[in-house]
Structure formats: structure tokens, C-alpha cells
């Protein structure tokens, strides 16, 4: 049952449009309901070869030797791929955004860091033959100790999961082993709070569970190009990743996709396209690489687990005076997209509430499990679970109706948020009021009278007079790229966002940034530094000399069009 409550914010809308706002039938519905919409797996070429991976049975092991001789002589086997067959066998997804260090091989060569990590790929005439040959690849493993818990993984002496990040923590801004949020002074506010409410929350790993498992079919096209039919959620992201790992100009790749049997974030990792294309390159025949259901569920990247600790300082009347977070994202064995999700999560704190003192330390932690990736609500869903379960505890501590508590603390137009931008276009209060009304819950008079449009701003719109800063978790000697780094690239004024409507568009909205200097990018290890408290941070530690610069040669760079730094 659905109703559209047009009376809310009616003066902010023109509801007299011709097509927008109409319940028009989907353009692609006939194909879907008649089973005729073509998915990637409907492009079954004559002579199609099938690819299956040989996977690690161990959480963590060194590879002494991979013996493919017997597998190569199995019936139907056309070719066996190993790491050295991949032209550029190291990548991190966000290198296309100039963020993070290449940390993950397509096919592991020297070690595996999670159970299920691929070390070889069999290309055979049939899938059954490929499966049979997988069982005949002999790997000489040197099994190493492993670590699976995020808080164990960051203790000194824990097994090193990913060689690039020796302390099992992603490095932010080349400076800290976590992302900070500092707004006001939580410790001072805790001291004057009437109640302290603390909690620990654990979000579990979750499978995106699309009906169509991830996969790609690649084939040689005429004129020295390759066509790739793919289930990707991000066509040019996958194309760019394939072009980089295969060291191939992007225009020799022709990617076709667009009808996908469910994604939910699980189809951005771009693992299938490079292997399928590499197979087509080395065999000269069409190749299909797709996961079966077991792979989709156990080696396909899930929504990562998150652990959150929240501490609130609350006044007797229910106002939350301070909120402190410590968060651990379980990234699994490699970075994929978790480091990015943490920045998104930090920008979201402390939830849709106006709290004058907020503090967060959020860590991207490497463990010996399947790497995590995006899923619906990436970076937000887990911490929203923590925040809203915590709000229930706060309501109980102060003896308030949980909905009254939300409305009392809700952000409103004009309020300052913890990431230091003013809130606008808010509507949390109205949502709370509508649900309370429908559910027959009697709110306080002040909650019924509240509005997102009123009583925000003013004192609530000002930055805190004092913010407590610290240098806890300082790291030297590592550079994870220029993405979103303050002070990294020469600034330019923010471009105005074009306003939709009927007026003619202004000139191009994207202007290229001037090129920036290339900083050092040594593969040095991180060193942790003792924490300190001060209001004016000392200057950052000096960067080491530019001795082991590692140029990154992504075949395609979004940086040139997204205004990022170019190397």
C-alpha cells in the first residue's frame, strides 16, 4: 500500500508536468516479462570456451610452486592461465580515481590472503572439462597464520594480510591509519552530560544475492578489437580496469551490457572482464568466465562486516550533547572499495541529528577473508543500524518516547553538520510525524509542532568555537594517492551545479584542473606514532625522498575528466 502525501512541501513543487511524475510503464518490461531481454549470458558464441578458477583452500598461504602440467593435458583443456600471463597483474579498483595503491592480483602468484583466492584459471571446451582440470592443478602451499577479526588484525604482531599495508590498516591522505572526524570537544561534553550511553554494534557480511551471477563473455572482434558482454554495474569502470590490467588501449575494447539480473553493488569489482578478455586474446576464441552460485556466495565480495562503538553524552531532557564513534570496516584481504565507503560513512556521521560535539575514528582493516565490496547503502547501512539501535537505548536512558527523542535531536534546515556544511532540504521531522500518526503514537506537543523548516540555524548553524584535534595514528612514508586530498591539488573554485529546468544549459560544467606535481609514492611501510592532544596540530612529518616512485599506468584515467590530479 502506498500513498503520496502531496500536501507536504507542496509549495516547493510544480506538479503540472507532462511526463515526469506519471506512472509510465517501463521501457524494457515487455522483454523482461517475455524472457527475451538479452543478458550477457545469452551471447553464446560458436566455439565458446569456459573458464574456471583454481582457488586457495587456505585463509593465508605462500605459494611455493604451481604445477599445471597435468591439468594442461586433460581432455578439452585449451590453456591454463597463471599470474604471469596477466600483463599487469596488480590493481586496486579506485586507482581509476587516483585513490589507493595497487594491492590485488587478478591471479595470485606469490601468496594468497583469503580462502577462495584464485591462483590459476583453466580454459576448456566445456565447463565440466574445466572443472575436472581445476582439480588436477597442484599447488605447493606454505600455510601461514591468519587473522579474521578486525580488532585482532590491528594488534602488533598480527599476521600481515596484504603486503602493501603492513599494519593491516588502510592509510588515509598519506597521513593517518584511519579517517578522522573532529567537531567540537566530545570529552568536555561527556563531563557535563547527565547520562552516558555506550554500545557496540556488529553488522554481518551479506551477499548481494543477484539471481544472475557475475560474469562476462569476451570474443575477438574484427580489426583487432575485443567485444565483451558483461553483467557489470559500471561499464566504463570495468572497461577501464580491463584496459589497465591488460595494458590495452581502451578503444580496442567494446563493452556491451546494460541488462543485468540484479546488482545491489556486487557487480562493480570488474574481475570477470579482464580474465575473459585475456582468455580470448590467448586462445583466439570466445571465452566465458562466470561464477557459479557457490563462488557468488563465498568468493564474490560481500557487503563487508562493520563493527561500531558509540558513546553518547545526553542531557536529562534528551538532547544529545556529544557522540563518539570508533568504527572498523572489515575490508577482507584487499581494499576494493572499503576505503572509499569509510569516507562516505564519516561524512554521514552522526546521522540525521544536530549534535554539537562529534568525534569519529574509522579504520579500514585487512583480514584474511573474502574482500568486501559495495552493497546497497554502502558505507551507510551498517552505521545506520548502529546509530538507530543506539537511539533506542538513549530514549530508554532518559525515559522518552523514541520518536520524540528523534524529533528533539533531528537536524533542520540551516543547522551545521559535523562535516562542516549547512543542512538544507531536510525532511526527517515530517517523516517521523507521519509514521507516528499512522501508528497511533501520541507525540509530545513540541514534537507535533516541530518542522524541518523552522528553528534551525542561528546558534545551531554555527561551527563550534573550539575543536579538539589530535595526531593519533600518524603514519609516514606511504602515499595512497591524491583522491580528495585537501591541499593536494591546486584549488579552483567549485563549479556551479547546473540547475535542471527549461532554461538553456550554461557552458560546460567541467573545467580541467591544472596539472599538479607528482608526489613520491614509495612502497615503504607505515609507522605508528603515539597520540597527542592539542588544538593546533604540529606540521605533518616530512615525506621521504622520491626514490621508488611507482608510476601508475592506468590505461584510462577518469581523473582527466573528473578534475582529479593526473600523474
Amino acid at each position: 500500500m502506498i500513498e503520496f502525501r502531496k500536501e507536504f512541501f507542496a509549495d516547493e513543487r510544480d506538479d503540472n508536468l507532462n511526463e515526469v511524475g506519471k506512472p509510465t510503464r517501463r521501457q524494457d518490461i515487455l522483454g523482461h516479462v517475455t524472457g527475451r531481454s538479452p543478458y550477457f549470458d545469452d551471447h553464446l558464441f560458436d566455439g565458446l570456451l569456459h573458464i574456471r578458477c583454481v582457488r586457495s583452500p587456505h585463509h593465508h598461504a605462500r605459494i611455493r610452486r604451481i604445477d599445471i602440467a597435468e591439468a594442461q593435458s586433460m581432455p578439452g583443456v585449451v590453456r591454463v592461465l597463471v599470474g604471469r600471463d596477466v600483463p599487469r597483474n596488480l590493481n586496486t579498483l579506485l586507482s581509476l580515481l587516483d585513490f589507493g595503491i595497487d594491492d590485488e592480483p587478478l591471479l595470485a602468484e606469490t601468496k594468497v590472503a583469503y580462502k577462495g583466492e584464485p591462483v590459476a584459471a583453466i580454459i576448456a571446451e566445456t565447463e565440466a572439462q574445466a572443472r575436472a582440470a581445476v582439480a588436477r592443478v597442484r599447488v605447493d602451499w606454505d600455510v601461514r597464520p591468519h587473522v579474521l577479526d578486525v580488532e585482532e588484525a590491528i594488534k602488533p604482531g598480527a599476521p600481515v594480510v596484504c603486503e602493501v599495508y603492513q599494519t593491516n590498516k588502510f592509510i588515509y591522505h598519506g597521513k593517518y591509519d584511519h579517517q578522522k572526524l573532529r567537531y567540537g570537544d566530545v570529552e568536555a561534553a561527556f563531563a557535563r552530560a547527565d547520562h552516558i550511553v555506550e554500545g557496540r554494534y556488529q553488522m554481518s557480511p551479506i551477499e548481494q544475492a543477484p539471481i544472475e551471477t557475475c560474469g562476462a563473455i569476451a570474443a575477438p572482434e574484427v580489426n583487432d578489437r575485443y567485444v565483451c558482454y558483461t553483467s557489470t554495474q559500471a561499464l566504463f569502470f570495468s572497461l577501464g580496469t580491463a584496459a589497465k590490467m591488460l595494458t590495452m588501449p581502451s578503444n580496442r575494447l567494446h563493452f556491451i551490457g546494460g541488462t543485468v539480473g540484479g546488482g545491489f553493488g556486487g557487480k562493480v569489482d570488474s574481475l570477470h572482464e579482464p580474465i575473459a578478455i585475456l582468455g580470448a586474446m590467448l586462445t583466439g576464441r570466445p571465452c566465458k568466465f562466470a561464477w557459479d552460485r557457490e563462488e557468488e556466495m563465498q568468493v564474490g565480495a560481500p557487503r563487508g562486516a562493520e563493527r561500531w562503538y558509540i558513546k553518547d553524552g545526553v542531557a536529562r531532557d534528551g538532547r544529545i550533547l556529544a557522540r563518539k564513534f570508533t568504527g572498523y570496516f572489515d575490508s577482507g584481504a584487499y581494499t576494493r572499495l572499503s576505503s572509499y565507503a569509510i569516507i562516505k560513512g564519516v561524512g554521514h556521521l552522526p546521522g540525521p541529528y544536530t549534535i554539537p560535539n562529534v568525534h569519529a575514528d574509522v579504520y579500514c582493516v585487512f583480514t584474511n577473508r573474502t574482500p568486501a565490496t559495495a552493497m546497497r547503502g554502502f558505507g551507510i547501512t551498517g552505521v545506520d543500524f548502529a546509530i538507530e539501535a543506539h537511539m533506542d537505548k538513549v530514549a530508554e536512558a532518559v525515559g522518552m518516547n523514541p520518536i520524540d527523542l528523534r524529533i528533539l535531536n533531528s537536524y533542520r534546515d540551516g543547522d551545521m553538520k559535523a562535516h562542516r556544511r549547512v543542512a538544507k532540504n531536510t525532511a526527517l521531522i515530517e517523516c517521523c510525524q507521519v509514521v507516528a500518526d499512522k501508528a497511533g503514537i501520541a507525540l509530545q506537543a513540541s514534537s507535533r509542532a516541530a518542522s524541518s523548516l523552522r528553528d534551525g540555524g542561528g546558534e545551531r548553524g554555527r561551527l563550534p568555537a573550539h575543536t579538539a584535534l589530535d595526531q593519533k595514528g600518524t603514519v609516514t612514508g606511504i602515499d595512497t594517492g591524491g583522491y580528495a586530498r585537501k591541499g593536494g591539488a591546486p584549488g579552483r573554485p567549485a563549479q556551479p551545479v547546473p540547475m535542471p529546468g527549461y532554461s538553456m544549459p550554461a557552458a560546460a560544467t567541467a573545467a580541467p584542473r591544472p596539472p599538479a606535481q607528482t608526489p613520491a609514492r614509495p612502497a615503504a611501510t607505515a609507522a605508528s606514532v603515539a597520540s597527542s592532544q592539542s588544538t593546533t596540530p604540529p606540521p605533518p612529518p616530512a615525506q621521504p625522498a622520491n626514490t621508488t616512485d611507482r608510476p601508475r599506468q592506468g590505461a584510462m584515467r577518469f581523473s582527466s575528466i573528473s578534475g582529479l590530479r593526473r600523474r
Binding site: 502506498i2 500513498e3 502525501r5 507536504f8 512541501f9 511526463e19 509510465t24 521501457q27 597521513k175 572526524l181 554481518s204 557480511p205 551479506i206 554495474q233 559500471a234 566504463f236 567494446h254 556491451i256 546494460g258 543485468v260 539480473g261 546488482g263 557487480k267 552460485r293 556466495m297 562486516a305 540525521p352 577473508r369 554502502f378 547501512t381 545506520d384 538507530e388 539501535a389 537511539m391 518516547n401 562535516h419 562542516r420 556544511r421 532540504n425 525532511a427 526527517l428 517523516c431 507521519v434 501508528a439 497511533g440 575543536t467 586530498r485 585537501k486 551545479v497 547546473p498 535542471p500 527549461y502 544549459p505 560544467t509 567541467a510 596540530p537 577518469f558 575528466i561 573528473s562 578534475g563
Partner: protein, 345 residues
């Protein structure tokens, strides 16, 4: 042994688009000789309705009926760059790119019409039914088909347009976390009613009442399917799903849909949805994007409802019968709270 009812509440907001910006999408629009338009994108329709909502946006902007527009997606040889279908960015980013492209094509179509009608193009309006006429003088008109034919066969004009939408990348202060994460937020509040069996620990969701604010609902049917499906996913996350049931231990991982638990048709609760529409100033016709956020409030609301029903706080998802039962036993039995009962204060 008894069944205990409980209610739980949660409220959330959700950032629309890729965090920090820096995520462009492009669109190309062109007309056939007879005024039928194609929108070329490389964006992906995952089933969320990307093709359909951009089609409506293009038709609205061009001023033609929706039947005169088809959207072609996801061919890297023909579709211009799009960052991808994730981060609730499709409607907002791609929709804005389509508006810009359609505005450029519309301007050419109106120029062509103005030349045919011997009027100033600024005086022309479209009626959304395939006609262009002088504002205030409907009899001085030309069809969009005739205007596009004239442009291409008499005047030598291409009725086409290019669009890109980019929110420039925001930087992040490593010391304070200062940043400009996104340009607009969707909102939701949701109340869940559950029934907890204190003998088995099983939790059944009996009813959901929600309010979602998602900017303008560009297609109310697509909004409805997103909200219904997304809330189901949230319920499933809360009570059923995980790839590692004993996280951080990796044992007992499911490998198929027999072992990966999800609610079936009999487990689905009635969901009473109210949609609020506060247009986003920078959204396409004010649209934000309901895709991801509709699942989020359900997870904590279910956890809070279980506490309300039997007095057990489950802070680790999913809320399995095992965890509920262990909690009830640790408390010496069910301890109903009933803090959100109808009429309670």
C-alpha cells in the same frame, strides 16, 4: 510459552550520489528524421528503471510524448561515459545529464520550428503532445515531426544534444573530516511490528509503516517497487541473511539458496508506505533517488522491536532465533517493554 508483540522505530537520512562528487555521467540525444528521439547512455539498468526514468526526463525536457523517446544503454562504442549504476547516483546524475542533452536538442528543434513559422524561437512552447506553437497562439503551430524533418532535410541542422553532469570533487580534511559529501539527502522513518516466539526465538515481522521522503517521485510506480523491494531487503538483512553466520569465524558459510536464508512470500509483512516529496534543488525535476536507502531503517527498527517485544537487545546482525533465545534465557524469560504501543506516551 507465548508470542510477544513489539514495535520498533528508526529514522534515517541518505546521501544521494557518489560521496564527494567527482563522478560524471554523460548523455547524447538525437532525433530521427521524423522527430523520434534516441537517448544514448552507457549507464546500466539493473532493474531499477534507469531506462524508464531517463526516458521520462528526456521526454519532459524535449517537450514530446514519452512514446517518441527510447533510451539505449550500455554500449561503450555508442554511449558516452557514465561512472556507473551505484551510490543512488543514477536518477540524480544521469537524469541531470539527460536534461542538459535534451535541452540542447530541444533548442535546435525550436530554432527549426521558428524558421518554418517565421517567428522568434523564444516565443515558442511545446505542448508535450508532439506540437510546437507560439505561446498564446495555439493555431500558429508545427508538429515536432515536421520541425525535425525541416531541420534535417531543409535547414541542414542536426537535432541533437550533449549533456554531462558533474559535481566537482570535494576534498577531505584529514584532521577534522571537513568535506562536502553530497548535495542532497533522502529521508525515511519506519515503524515495524514483530512477533517473537519465546520458545523458539523466532521473529516474524507482522507490519511495517513508513514515510519516505525522496524528492520528486519521477515515476510513482518505480518508486513503489523500489520501496517495497528495498524494505523487504532490509527485513531480510535484519533477520535472515549473512555469508558468515558465526562471523568472524568463516565456518558454516552458505553456498546456495537452500542455505543462504531469506524470507519467502509467507514471511513478507504488509507495508504501509507514505511518500513525501521535497524536491532537491539540484535534482532532475527535484528527484533524489529512492534506491538504496529504503532498506536502511528496517534493520534497526526490527532490532528495536525485538527489544520492545521480549526485552532482548540484539546488537549483532542478523537477529537469529539462536541469539534471541539465548538472550531471553539470560534475562530469565521474556521481558516485554511495550514502549511504542498505540496511544502510549
Amino acid at each position: 510459552m507465548a508470542l510477544h508483540r513489539g514495535r520498533g522505530f528508526a529514522a534515517i537520512n541518505y546521501p544521494i550520489g557518489m560521496n564527494l562528487g567527482g563522478d560524471p555521467s554523460q548523455a547524447l540525444v538525437h532525433s530521427n528524421p521524423d522527430g523520434k528521439f534516441t537517448v544514448a547512455l552507457s549507464s546500466i539498468d539493473l532493474g531499477q528503471g534507469m531506462k524508464s526514468v531517463t526516458r521520462q526526463i528526456a521526454a519532459e525536457t524535449l517537450g514530446v510524448p514519452v512514446a517518441d523517446v527510447y533510451v539505449d544503454t550500455a554500449d561503450s562504442d555508442t554511449g558516452p561515459h557514465c561512472m556507473g549504476s551505484f551510490a543512488s547516483r543514477g536518477t540524480h546524475r544521469v537524469g541531470n545529464a539527460v536534461i542538459q542533452a535534451a535541452q540542447e536538442a530541444r533548442a535546435v528543434m525550436l530554432q527549426a520550428a521558428a524558421e518554418e513559422l517565421e517567428v522568434d524561437p523564444a516565443d515558442l512552447v511545446t505542448d508535450g503532445q508532439g506540437n510546437i506553437h507560439v505561446n498564446g497562439a495555439p493555431s500558429r503551430s508545427i508538429t515536432t515531426m515536421a520541425a525535425c524533418q525541416a531541420a534535417q532535410f531543409k535547414q541542414g541542422r542536426t537535432v541533437s544534444g550533449r549533456g554531462i553532469f558533474l559535481i566537482p570533487l570535494s576534498e577531505v580534511d584529514p584532521e577534522t573530516g571537513e568535506m562536502t559529501p553530497v548535495s542532497c539527502f533522502a529521508h525515511a522513518a519506519l515503524l515495524v511490528e514483530v512477533e517473537v516466539d519465546d520458545e523458539t526465538g523466532e521473529v516474524a515481522v507482522r507490519d511495517m509503516q513508513s514515510a519516505y521522503e525522496l524528492g520528486r517521485a519521477l515515476n510513482p510506480k518505480l518508486v513503489e517497487q523500489q520501496l517495497v523491494g528495498g524494505a523487504w531487503m532490509g527485513m531480510s538483512h535484519a533477520l535472515w541473511e549473512t555469508t558468515e553466520p558465526y562471523y568472524p569465524d568463516r565456518s558454516h558459510g552458505p553456498v546456495d539458496f537452500n542455505h543462504y536464508l531469506m524470507p519467502g512470500p509467507g514471511d513478507i509483512a504488509p507495508h504501509h508506505i507514505s511518500v513525501l516529496e521535497r524536491p532537491a534543488p539540484d535534482g532532475p525535476f527535484g528527484g533524489k533517488g529512492p534506491g538504496e536507502m529504503c532498506a536502511n531503517p528496517v534493520l534497526p527498527a526490527v532490532a528495536n522491536a525485538v527489544y520492545d517485544a521480549v526485552g532482548v537487545r540484539i546488537d549483532e546482525l542478523p537477529i537469529t532465533p539462536e541469539k534471541v533465545l539465548r538472550g531471553i534465557r539470560a534475562n530469565g524469560g521474556a521481558k516485554p517493554r511495550q514502549r511504542l504501543a498505540r496511544g502510549a506516551r
